[in-house]
């Protein structure tokens, strides 16, 4: 029982990371109908920014953990969203209005480019950082079993919840969020209401990249190792999470991410670590067979 709960928490924190990346996929798909295959690389770049920012702070002698974390967070979000913005501007915007596959191919090109760019700048060797957040709190102590949760996992889960609440408010309550949803539902009409669609699309990439940046920071804290290739598998997982939850659906992306994370953790805990990806993707295949629109991707019934 204790082991199960610990693995569940493990899965939740891993799933939080997947979910945060998945939102970037699902938002971009929702608004311009393309899969941004370079989004995994944006996550990887976020993780690198986190490492670099942390090392710079250390060199400057700022080691007080909460202060350092906040600075790293802000710097990482800022720099990574600049990448997101630029990627859209140079790789996708010029192709808007051309045939559907063009931006997809451009996205794959962008993904390869970014991997090589980071590999050239940072070398292929994985970079490691010491674990920053240490210690555990005990949740349940009984004679039969005990459950403890590390501060790190707690931090990841709480940070994700806070981000999700903030993000949901942004999308549902603000004018920016309304413009975003309007473009998603009817881009032509949004333009006719005076919305600068290009700006909204740029902002969508910036928001997606910011969340991926936070995920990158969490990944760095969680595993303590980053390398230029890490965006690929994380990207595939997060994309699967978005599809699992129903691509285009924001709560779906989060749910898909968490499900994938939990399945992976539990499968590695009870069966085999080697086959955890097999388990995760099998669930994806099964869901898609029985619910092709994903878990929450139910098309709305509308009167015409």
């Amino acid at each position: 029982m204790g082991y199960f709960l610990e693995q569940l928490i493990n899965g939740l924190s891993l799933g939080s990371i997947y979910g945060l990346i998945a939102i970037g996929y699902t938002m971009v798909y929702g608004i311009i109908g393309m899969v941004n295959f370079a989004h995994g690389e944006v996550f990887m770049i976020g993780a690198f920014h986190a490492v670099i920012a942390y090392l710079v702070l250390q060199a400057l002698g700022i080691t007080l953990l909460p202060v350092a974390l906040i600075i790293v967070l802000v710097v990482t979000i800022f720099l990574t969203s600049a990448y997101g913005w630029t990627i859209e501007k140079i790789a996708y915007r010029p192709l808007r209005g051309s045939f559907r596959l063009a931006p997809l191919i451009s996205a794959i090109g962008m993904s390869v480019l970014l991997q090589n760019y980071v590999q050239l700048l940072q070398e292929a060797r994985p970079k490691s950082v010491p674990s920053l957040i240490q210690g555990n709190i005990s949740l349940i102590e009984s004679e039969d079993f005990s459950v403890s949760i590390s501060y790190l996992r707690l931090f990841i889960i709480i940070a994700t919840v806070v981000l999700m609440v903030f993000f949901t408010m942004l999308i549902t309550k603000t004018a920016l969020g309304r413009s975003q949803r309007a473009c998603e539902q009817d881009m032509k009409m949004a333009t006719l209401l005076g919305i600068n669609v290009d700006r909204v699309i740029s902002l969508t990439f910036v928001i997606g990249a910011s969340l991926a940046a936070v995920a990158g920071l969490m990944f760095m804290l969680f595993y303590g190792v980053v390398d230029f290739y890490m965006g690929f598998i994380a990207g595939v997982k997060a994309f699967s999470a978005a599809v699992l939850g129903g691509i285009g659906s924001l709560p779906g992306a989060m749910l898909g991410g968490i499900l994938l994370g939990v399945i992976e953790s539990l499968f590695s805990a009870y069966f085999s670590v080697e086959y955890k990806d097999l388990a995760a993707f099998s669930v994806l295949v099964l869901v898609l067979i029985f619910r092709p629109t994903g878990l929450l991707g139910k098309p709305e019934v509308e009167k015409v």
Partner: protein, 245 residues
Amino acid sequence: MVDINKQEKANILALKDVHSFYGQVEALRGVSLQVKAGEIVSLIGANGAGKTTLLMTICGKPKAQKGEIIFLNQSIVSKPTHEIIRLGIAHCPEGRHIFPKMTVMENLLMGIAETSKEFFKQDLKRIFDLFPILYDRRTQRGGTLSGGEQQMLAIGRAIISRPKLLLLDEPSLGLAPIIVQKIFATIRQLNKELQMTILLIEQNAYHALQLADRAYVLVNGYITMQGTGQELLTNPEISKAYLGG
């Protein structure tokens, strides 16, 4: 009713020799027309005559290939759509284009998303006075409204920003006759009570001409006739071609 605007007869909108393409097809082949302050101007024509393209070209989507479009004394022909709209043009397109997953309130808010919010409460009240049904439906999603309610919402969303020119594309399309009456009555009300300047496209030529101060007939991308609504209503050619006898 004092109608200062009609005495001044200032041009709100003027098109001069506008050419525009719908895909590969030249849909407008040199259209010139004027809309003056306080007028309802109707544009009638058969399917494919270029009516919708004309309204869309005013909004810069597509851009006019040739010619000049003047709105409130400035050329808007090279401006992007969102800037044209923000100058004070509201476009209520064919097919209503309600945001299906947004509530009625959110749909209305979209009408002022990028303009001033000062008068929002007053404006909202004005819309709800005009269409009380929208108040009852305010928390419902746009996609769940009936066709007539959607059309009312589309008009409400278009006028909430107090546009200087309202473009209406086929507001009666696909609606029950009783609703059509209501929509036309509303258009008249907008014009008479709120002094709104309106450029209206209609297939329902009879209604459109009755409502109009002036009207244009568009055939294959050319303006073939113009005059006051009454003149065109009594014109035998018009009555043969568009009024069914």
